[in-house]
Amino acid sequence: MIEFHLDSRSGVSPYLQIVQQVRQAMRLGLLHQGDQLPTVKEVVAQLAINPNTVLKAYRELEHEGLASARPGVGTFVTGSLGAESLAAHGPLRQALQRWITKARRAGLDDESIEALFRDSFRSAGEEDIA
């Protein structure tokens, strides 16, 4: 069983924080297929948040095929995450490190590098939508 926590200053909506924490726990091997997620009542009693927030997070996880609800029992992890794409991490990391080295050589400081990455990431996302 895992416990959730909320960062009220992160700007990420609470339901998304829960979704992300479940995904993260799956990636890190803290949650496996068949594990039960905390019940809605447990989560709200711990975090003092609206039950609909938890329901929405769990529905999103169901929609992604990562969890499924058994009525009257609870919500259980049904999928797995990261295993397929893990192999791609190494080469991607290397390419990114080469890119960062190049950016430093070009005279960019850390903040400029982050800003450039975020900006490129965002415009790539917008192209995907368009």
Binding site: V44, A48, P51
Partner: protein, 306 residues
């Protein structure tokens, strides 16, 4: 299902002053509704109208599909915790439960008992000697053990320290999760309600400024920053709530249904607190007027010009 609360043209006047004016609301069931606004905005007036402690001067209000009244059937469906969570100071905790059982037809004695035990309250202790947090919890116990469909709480956490505040809201949310009760609670601090509410009503200067599902509110409000813009030239679907300008830069807070297409704006999402504060300021709820206090006249022009 009928809405938990609906109001049309609702108003309450004391002498020449409207405590609540032209209030239109339609709050569907199944929500935890936050009623926010500065002190003196009319929050308590609205809540007292909802439970039938006050009668409207104008318009109408319905709670769970019926006008508030002293009809026992209607009273049993609504739980109310007044400001400062009043209890009878000379009566013991146990006396309060006995009173609750005597006065409420659907009293859930087992639930009340369980809550008192979970809270570690001594049934023999007089309510007057309880801490603020314990008194609030006792009042909440009485309100939920009558098993209402709709629970109304007036500033329930205002006088509690941060820990008691958190514990109270944890308990309240547990009740919501377990019994599916709809809740309306007021606070002058949006930070208190941010995590628990999924519906928000902002009341400033006797009027409802904005009301809606929290997610929808967050999804339709944006902060735009960019080179100085003339707000009269904004697209029709962008409604300016707050603006400030320097000679080079404009910062706007807008409500818009669609995406912001003008690429010269940097578009950022808005937190609930900033959103509420912007509406409060727009309504003149702020004590300090900002330089850009002509925002509303510009907005009016915007509507006419397009």
């Amino acid at each position: 299902m009928s809405p938990v609360l609906s109001a049309r043209g609702l108003g309450k006047r004391y002498g020449r002053r409207w405590a609540l004016h032209e209030c239109d609301l339609h709050v569907p069931a199944g929500h935890v509704v936050g009623l926010v606004g500065p002190n003196g905005a009319g929050k308590t007036t609205l809540l007292h109208l909802a439970v039938g402690l006050l009668t409207p001067t104008a318009g109408r209000i319905e709670v769970l599909g019926n006008p508030p009244s002293d009809d026992p059937a209607q009273l049993a469906r609504v739980g109310f915790v007044a400001q400062d969570t009043p209890t009878y100071s000379r009566l013991t905790v146990g006396d309060h439960l006995a009173l609750g059982a005597h006065m409420n037809p659907h009293w859930d004695g087992a639930m009340a008992q369980r809550r008192i035990e979970d809270l570690d309250l001594d049934p023999k202790q007089r309510a007057g000697t309880l801490s603020g947090g314990q008194r609030a919890q006792l009042a909440l116990t009485l309100a939920v053990a009558k098993r209402p469909e709709f629970l109304i709480l007036d500033e329930p956490v205002a006088s509690l320290d941060p820990l008691a505040r958190r514990e109270f809201l944890q308990d309240l949310m547990e009740v919501v999760a377990e019994h599916g009760v709809s809740v309306l609670l007021s606070s002058h601090l949006v930070a208190d309600l941010e995590r628990v509410c999924d519906y928000l009503v902002v009341l400033v200067a006797s009027r409802v400024q904005v009301a809606g599902e929290v997610e929808e509110l967050l999804g339709t409000h944006r902060r735009l920053t960019g080179p100085r813009h003339d707000i009269d030239a904004l697209p029709r679907d962008q409604y300016v709530i707050e603006e400030s300008h320097t000679d080079r830069q404009s910062t706007l807070l807008v409500r818009c249904d669609g995406p912001v297409l003008d690429p010269s704006w940097t578009v950022e999402p808005l937190g609930l607190e900033d959103l509420v504060l912007a509406y409060m300021e727009q309504a003149g709820g702020g004590t300090r007027r900002r330089r850009s206090s002509n925002a509303r006249s510009n907005v009016a022009k915007l509507d006419v010009a397009q």
